[in-house]
Structure formats: C-alpha cells, structure tokens
Amino acid sequence: MTKRVLIVEDETNIVESLSFLLGRAGFEVQTVADGALALDKAAHVEPDVMILDVMLPNVSGFDVLRGVRANPALTSTPVMMLTAKGQSRDREQALQLGADVFVTKPFSNADIVAEARRLAGLDG
C-alpha cells in the first residue's frame, strides 16, 4: 500500500525537489503552499506523513501543527518540521507541539527520505 505524504511548503523549488525525492521513494505526494489551506488539505488527504515548513505565508507552521494535533483524525499523524532558521528555540517549540522530527534546511536528501520512510512505518 502506498503511503501518502503531504508537503506544506511555499518555496516552489523546494517543493519540487521534495516531490521528486519522495515520489521516487514510493510515496504518493500531495503539496500545499499556504498555511491557511494546509489544515483543510490535510483533513482531506489524511496523509501518513506530513512535512511542514515553519515559515509560511499567512499562517505559520506552528499554528498548522497545533491545528493538526487538535484534529482527532490527524492527532497521530507523524509530522516532520522543516525550518530555515535552525534556532533551538524553534526546535523546542516544534517538539513540544507534537512534531516528531525537526529538520534544518538545507537538508540531506537521504536523511529526509529515510526519516519520511521511518515515520510512515515503511522500515520495519
């Protein structure tokens, strides 16, 4: 069974690279660029893994994460947070809000794919 991944990210080039990588790794990839639309999209897609950028237009990644965890259907969805700021304060906040993994940009492709697979339960 194919696992679904939802990428919430506003930088189109990064979305493109992530889509390429995860698609090649066997995921069904869905994307959304706006934080305000991310929650609806997630509720609709019901992804197995969410990749969530912190810096989003209109609604920040943290707020999206909060909404995800507040939604009973999404409570247990694994979330990988991406940030370009890389401050430890952001990492703490993300983990506290229920993110499973916190990744700082620029990332290593192999790491991202491995983490996504792990979160999706593809590696044993």
Binding site: E11, N13, P57, K85, P106, F107
Partner: protein, 892 residues
C-alpha cells in the same frame, strides 16, 4: 636729711648692681642655663614695666586729687589680663609664628607686610612716647632735687640719667641682631626692679598705715578721706580711663615688647593672667592711704606727686625714704629702658633699614655687612629716642601733673587698637583701612589732646586752642563740632576712636586687598586653626638656594644661617649640601629675617632675590572663608551629582538604544540566515539528486540545473543587496551628483522593467512633462525607480493592471509618484514596507530578498531626497522626492 652724695652713691651702686645682674643673666643664657629666667614669675615681673614713675609717684598724686580715680588705670589691664585667653594668647601665638618684633611690625605684617604702615605706627609711637619718657626723666629729676640742697642742677642730673640709661639699653638691648630673641639681661634686671618697686611702695605703705596712722580705719576716718571719696567719679571719665588703660597694656610699644615679643612660652600667660593683676593690686593697695595721710599731715601746697618720698622724709625715716627713692628710680629706669628698646627696634626696622635697603637696592649682594648696619641703626635709634625724651624734658620743663602726660601717651597708642583687633579677628580689614584708621586717629589725637597739652607752645597757639583755628568755634580742639564734653580727655577719646574706627571700616570695605594681604589676614585670623592643622601657607616663589643662603648669612650670621639651612636640608632628607629652594624655604627664611628686620623689610629683601610671588590657587581656596568653602563644596557636589544623573540617564538611554540595535541585529541575522538557507536548500537538494541519480530524464536534468543556477543567482543578489544596504546605512558611500534630466532616468527604468511588465500584462502610464533637472547618481536613481516599479508589478496590480508614473517640479522639491491600482497597503503596514525582509502578502518575487524598498529608501536619503508611501484611495502610491536644482546648473 639724706645727703646728696648718699643718694648719688646709692643710685650708682644700684645701677652697678643692675648691670651686674644683667651681665650675669646674659652670661647664663649664653651658656644655655636658662632656669628661672624662663619662668612665668620673671615674665610676670617684667610686665610690671607698666608701673612707671607715673604709677609710683603719680598714682598717689592722682588719688590726692581725685580719690579712687587712679584705680581705673589698673583695672583696665586687669580686665585685659583676666581675658588673656582671647586676646593675648592669639597675639603671642601670631607673634611667635611670624617672628614679630614690635607692634609696628605686627600691623605691617598683618596688612600685607606694608612698610608704610610700619612707618606710620613707628612715627606715632615715637611721638606719643617721647613725652612719656620725658615724664620719667621729670620724676627722676624731681626726686633727686628733693634731696639736693639746691646746688644740684636738675637738668644736668636728668642729662646724666639719660646718658646712663642709653648706655645700659645699648649694652643689653642690642646684643643680638634678632630683635625677636629674648633680652635675658634686660628682662632679668627689669624683674629685679619690679621687686624693688613693690617692696619699696609696700614698705612706705605699711609705714604710713601702721607707723604714721594706726591702721586703715584711722586713715579712712580722717576728713580728707571723706572729701576724696565723696565725689562721684564713676562717670564717663572713669569708663574712659578703664578703656584707655586696657588699650595701653596692649598697644604701648614697651608693653607689647615685654608681653608679646619677650614671651618664651604661651603658658606663662596663664600665670601672668592672675599674677600681674595681683602685682598691680598690691601696687595700688597703699596709694589711697598714702594720699590721705599725705594730705592730712603734709603742709598745704606740697606736691602730692611726691608724697611717697616726702612722707618718710618728713617723719625722719631716712632709710625708708632711700628705699622709696630707689623704688621710684627703678620704676622710671625700667620704663625708659624697655621703651627705648621697643622704639629703637621699630625705628631701625621700619625707618632706617627700609631707607638703607632702598639706597642699596641695586647692589643687594655686594653691600656690606647688614648685621653691623642693623646694630648701628638700633643703637643710633636708642640715642635718638633718649635725646628726644631729654629734649622734651628740657622744653616742657616739669609742666603738668604726671598723670595727664601718661594719659596723652595712652591715647596715642590707643590709635593702634582698632587695627590690631580688626587684624586679629576680621579678615576683611585691609591695609588701606588700617592706614586711614591710624592716620586719621593720630591727627584727631594730636589736634584734640597732644598739641593742646603744650598750652600753645607747639603748632597750635593758645588763641587757636581757646577759639578754634581762624576763629572757627566749631573746630575748637576741646569741643569739636560744638560737642559739649567738658573733660578734654573724654572728648579726645570719643572723637579719635570714632574717627579711627569709622575710617577702618570704610577704608577696608572700599579697598581690595592684595594677595599677600589676604594671605596674611588668613594667617592672623585663623592662626589657631592653621597651626592645629599644621598647615604652612606661603607665597609661590623661590630663588636659588645659594642666593638665599648668602642673604641669610649676611643678616643672621654665618653660624646661625648654616645651622638653619642644615636643619632644613635634613628635614628635606638631604644629608649634605644646601636644601632645595622651594616656597617653604623662602617663607621660612623670610620669617627668620623678620625676627631681625621686621616683616616688611624681610619681605622686601627676600623679594629682591625671589620675586614677589603669587598666592597659588590652592592657597586661595584655603584662604576662602570656611563657610564659603562649604557652600562651594556642596555646590560642587550638587553639580557633580546632577552631572552624574544626566550621564546616567544618557547611559541608560544609550543602553536601551544599543539593546534595540542588538535585537534588530539578531533579528536581521536570523532573517539573513533564513533567506540564505532557502535558496541553499534547493541548490543542495537538486545537486544531490543530480549526483546520486544515474539515469535521469534529460529534460528533468536540464530543469534541475536551471533551478540550481537561478537559486545561486538569487543567493548572489541577496548577498549583494545585504552589502549594499549595509554600506548605504552607514553612509560610507558617496553618491555622484551629476546633472541629469529626470525624464531620461525614468525612461531608463521603464525600459529595464519592460519585460517584467509585459509578462504581467501592464502598460505603464507615463506622460513626460517639462524637462526637470536633478542632481543625482544616474544608476542609483534608476535602481530606485526599478525597485519601486518591480514592487508595484509584484504586489500591486489590480484588474486590469495599471501603473501610473508622474513627475512634478514643486517649489521646494521634485516629486515622482508611482501609483498602482492594486489592493493598496494598509496604513498600519505603511512603515513595515521599508523594513528589511518584510514581505507583504503571500506572493514572493523570485530573486528579491525583500531588501529592495529599504535599499531604495536609503539611496534616496543619501541623495538628500526621500522615498515614502502615500496612503490614499485605491492602490499603493510611492512618492520619490529630490531637491530642486537651479535650471542653469543642470544645463550641459
């Protein structure tokens, strides 16, 4: 009856004994055996020179005329002595520290070492003392005549007496150059004479009370007693006499000499404070009984001034009469000797030495032995004083009662009192004030008392004395301005003192003291505080040590100068050689010289080689009134704390600014990091994909490479923009100011953005108007237009998209407005537009890091213009302003 020969022989023997005692005392002192010579008893006895022949003979005369009035002459000194703690203690302390040699020296030193004051005081003192000395000669010759059978020439007797006294005074009074050094021989002889005086008068007194009469009650029962005591003498004259005698004990040159100059130990004053009143108490105890018995038993017409002698003689008590005579002889001689020493010091220090100094001013180092000159001038002075006294005696004869002559001298000396007291307690008293006070007081004294006492034979004629000069009644010497004071003495005291004190106050307040005067005033008034604090104060001046040493040798002698300089060198920590010449050495040398020459001459001599010096600022501050000091101090502290408050406030604000800047910087770095990481993420990711993927669709390959290329360009641009902004913000860049036509620049910008606009489907609305000249950097200005236009394209387009560009020349500035028809920018965001990395709305323009508008604003500000956002209806309206340029400046 005692024979003339016995009297003369006794006198000679007595004088020989005095010489012997004086020699012996001087020898002991030279050998360093001071013993009792430095005892408070000898000091107290020496003060008894106050009791002169006037006291000895004249007090009985006065009592025989006016009853108890004579006592006033002793009560004044008693009051001053029991108050020693306040006046004499200070005088003695100052005199010792300043090495004062006389009252003239004291005043001259206090008022800025003024030689003029020294001269004034000396002249007045000599004038006032001359009759007084003559008075002693008169009483001596009177007493001698009493024993002669009429064959003796009284004026010849007086002459030999004067010669003898002069010799004694020269022998024992001018042994040292340093007048401030004690005259042990003289003082011891005076002390001996004091005992003789007291024993003599007490013997006569006891003889009269218990020999001639049967006890005091017998005497006071006699009719003369009631007659003498019934008159009410406790009026203005009584007060005047108490005041005058109190003044005299301070101001008479000989009293100043024995009390202040000859004092070796301040504590001796404590003894003298009660012992001297005791002495004069005993001296006056028998005055009234002798007077009453004299009046009662002696034939009418007898001179009451001689009762002390004539009573024992009339009773056949020859030995007692001889003792009484010797007592009177003692009283007269001791007064003359001490007066002569005191006056001679004043004359030589304040008149002869300054003249000599002036005469040799050009050749300070080659002129002979100053010590010899000094001694000679002092000896000559003694002869002059004796001569004057004798001359006066010859001229005035034995006119007038003894007492009135003494009182004239008292009032003359009293003219120094206001200046002395003010000098000790009022720092504001100045040289001008003192000169005016002593001068005017002396004139009034001479006019109202001294000259009239000659009864018309000196300067003032009898006619003038009776009716006033030129018949001006209101100027009569005995009734100035018609003042109805019947007693001439009281009249003279009131007028001279009133004028004296007024002139002192007015003169002091109207004049400005020189630096040296201020310094001396401080040293005098605050002598106790300064010596307790151990602070020496000196003028800032100095000279070569060698020159100072040479000067010291010439005046103090080789030995003493050597000792003094060695001591100072030791104190400075130098084992050998001359001490370092500093202001303190100069000041100390001047003080030492003052002991020999007086303050003003010493100052003049030292100033000849060291310059006049100035009072340093710290000294001036110390001299300032303590209250003023405290006020000044607290004022300064207040000012300091205010300054501190202000700087603390400034620091606090600076700190806040720094923290804000630091926060901004943190935020900026965080933003920069974010902005850099974003393109980097894409670059790294696609690079990894390309590296790790073996088979890849060529199209996809091409696309990924293009993305990497674009993102690297974005990265480069971003770095460029950051650097650009940083340079612009710190103002390190200089913009070119070329004359440009605004229209050209706008067109350049429109051309540059043409592809962007075409893609967005917008046709810019621009109608060039009149030519507008500006001074600017062409590329930078174009960059601003491009940035704003791109921004409008990115964020501000409505449907259909429209951008309007307008250029207007106003009176003060040139304005370019770029208006779009987009959603506009909320008022709250108007400022955020120009913040770094702020992006409004969701759209992101590829290739912009959000620094375009901040950079544009900085460029405009660097060009003396501005970039602002005008809020208005419809879309955003950016306003670019530039300063107006004169038309001609732009023409090229």
């Amino acid at each position: 009856m005692l024979s003339w020969n016995v009297i003369v022989l006794t006198c000679l023997l007595y004088v020989a004994a005095l010489f012997g005692v004086a020699f012996w005392a001087e020898r002991r002192a030279r050998a360093g055996h001071f013993g009792w010579m430095r005892s408070p008893l000898v000091y107290t006895l020496s003060i008894s020179v106050y009791c002169t022949a006037w006291t000895y003979y004249g007090a009985v005369g006065s009592a025989a005329r006016n009853g108890l009035e004579f006592a006033a002459i002793y009560l004044g000194p008693t009051l001053v002595f029991i108050g020693w703690w306040f006046l004499f203690r200070k005088l003695v302390r100052i005199a010792r520290e300043q090495r004062t040699t006389s009252i003239a020296d004291l005043l001259s030193s206090r008022y800025g070492k003024s030689s003029l004051i020294g001269v004034f005081v000396t002249v007045l003192a000599v004038i006032a003392s001359t009759p007084y000395i003559a008075l002693q000669l008169t009483s001596l010759s009177l007493s001698f005549t009493l024993f002669s059978d009429g064959s003796a020439n009284s004026s010849l007797t007086a002459f030999w007496i004067a010669v003898g006294l002069a010799i004694f005074t020269i022998l024992f009074g001018t042994r040292h150059v340093d007048a401030n050094e004690r005259h042990y021989g003289v003082v011891t002889a005076i002390a001996l004479e004091a005992i003789v005086k007291l024993v003599a008068i007490a013997s006569v007194g006891l003889f009269v009370v218990f020999g001639l009469a049967s006890g005091p009650s017998d005497i006071f029962a006699r009719p003369e007693s009631a007659e003498l005591l019934s008159a009410d003498i406790f009026g203005p004259r009584w007060i005047t006499l108490v005041f005058l005698s109190a003044t005299a004990i301070i101001c008479l040159p000989r009293m100043f000499q024995v009390i202040v100059v000859e004092n070796v130990d301040e504590r001796h004053l404590a003894t003298a404070a009660w012992a001297f009143p005791m002495y004069i108490f005993l001296m006056s105890l028998f005055v009234l009984p002798i007077a009453i018995v004299g009046l009662n038993t002696m034939p009418a017409g007898s001179n009451p001034d001689l009762f002390v002698l004539t009573l024992p003689l009339a009773s056949g008590a020859n030995t007692l009469a001889l003792v009484a005579f010797i007592g009177g002889f003692s009283a007269a001689t001791s007064m003359v000797i001490v007066s002569a020493i005191a006056l001679a010091t004043m004359m030589s220090n304040h008149i002869f030495m300054p003249l000599w100094l002036r005469a040799t001013a050009g050749t300070p180092s080659s002129s002979g032995d100053v010590r010899r000159i000094l001694l000679i001038s002092r000896r000559v002075s003694i002869l002059v004083i004796m001569g004057l006294g004798y001359l006066y005696y010859l001229l005035a004869g034995d006119g007038g009662a003894l007492a009135s002559i003494g009182l004239i001298a008292f009032l003359g000396a009293a003219q120094f009192l206001p200046s002395v007291i003010a000098g000790l307690y009022w720092r504001g008293a100045t040289r001008t004030g003192a000169l005016l006070a002593v001068g005017s007081g002396a004139v009034v004294w001479a006019y109202t008392l001294f000259l009239p006492s000659f009864g018309g034979s000196l300067i003032l004629s009898a006619e003038t004395i009776a009716n006033g000069p030129f018949g001006l009644g209101w100027l009569r010497p005995n009734a100035l301005f018609g003042s109805a004071i019947s007693d001439p003495l009281v009249h003279a005291v009131i007028w001279s003192m009133a004028v004296n004190i007024t002139m002192l106050c007015v003169g002091s307040m109207m004049s400005r003291p020189r630096a040296l005067e201020q310094l001396q005033a401080k040293i005098f008034v605050d002598v106790f505080a300064l010596s307790a604090a151990g602070q020496g104060m000196s003028l800032g001046r100095t000279a070569k040590s060698e020159k100072l040493f040479e000067l010291a040798q010439r005046i103090l002698g080789r030995e003493q100068a050597g000792r003094m300089f060695t001591e100072i060198a030791r104190a400075q920590g130098k084992p050998s050689g001359l001490p370092d010449a500093d202001p303190a050495l100069t000041a100390r040398l001047e003080r030492a010289l003052a002991g020999a020459l007086g303050a003003s001459s010493a100052h003049a001599m030292v100033s000849q080689i060291s310059g006049h010096g100035t009072v340093s600022v710290p000294e001036l501050i110390r001299m300032a009134d303590e209250t003023a000091q405290i006020v000044e101090y607290s004022h300064r502290i207040e000012e300091k704390s205010r300054e501190l408050e202000i700087s603390a406030d400034q620091l606090r604000r600076a700190n806040e600014r720094l923290r804000a800047i630091s926060d901004q910087k943190d935020a900026f770095l965080s933003q920069v990091s974010h902005e850099l990481r974003t393109p980097m993420t894409s670059i790294r990711s696609f690079a990894e994909i390309l590296r790790e993927t073996d088979q890849i669709d060529p199209d996809q390959h091409q696309r990924f490479v293009t993305i990497i290329h674009e993102e690297s360009q974005r990265l480069t641009r971003l770095l460029d923009e950051i650097l650009d902004l940083s340079v612009l913000e710190t103002g390190r860049t200089t913009m070119r100011r070329d004359p440009l036509w605004l229209d050209d620049v706008i067109r350049q910008a429109l051309d540059a953005t043409e592809p962007l606009m075409r893609r967005a489907g917008v046709q810019p609305d621009y109608a060039p108007g009149a030519e507008i000249p500006v001074l600017a950097d062409r590329d930078r200005l174009a960059q601003v237009f491009i940035n704003v236009l791109s921004n409008a394209v990115k964020y501000g387009l409505g449907l259909p998209p429209r951008i309007k560009v307008e250029a207007v020349q106003g009176p003060q500035e040139v304005t370019v407005t770029i208006t779009d028809n987009g959603p506009g920018i909320a008022e709250a965001d108007a400022d955020r537009v120009f913040e770094k990395f702020s992006r409004l709305g969701e759209a992101t323009l590829a290739g912009s890091a959000g620094l375009g508008l901040p950079i544009s604003r900085e460029i405009m500000r660097n060009l003396d213009g501005d970039l602002t956002l005008r809020s208005g209806e419809g879309g955003a309206c950016f306003v670019i302003t530039l300063p107006v340029v004169e038309q001609s400046a732009a023409a090229e």
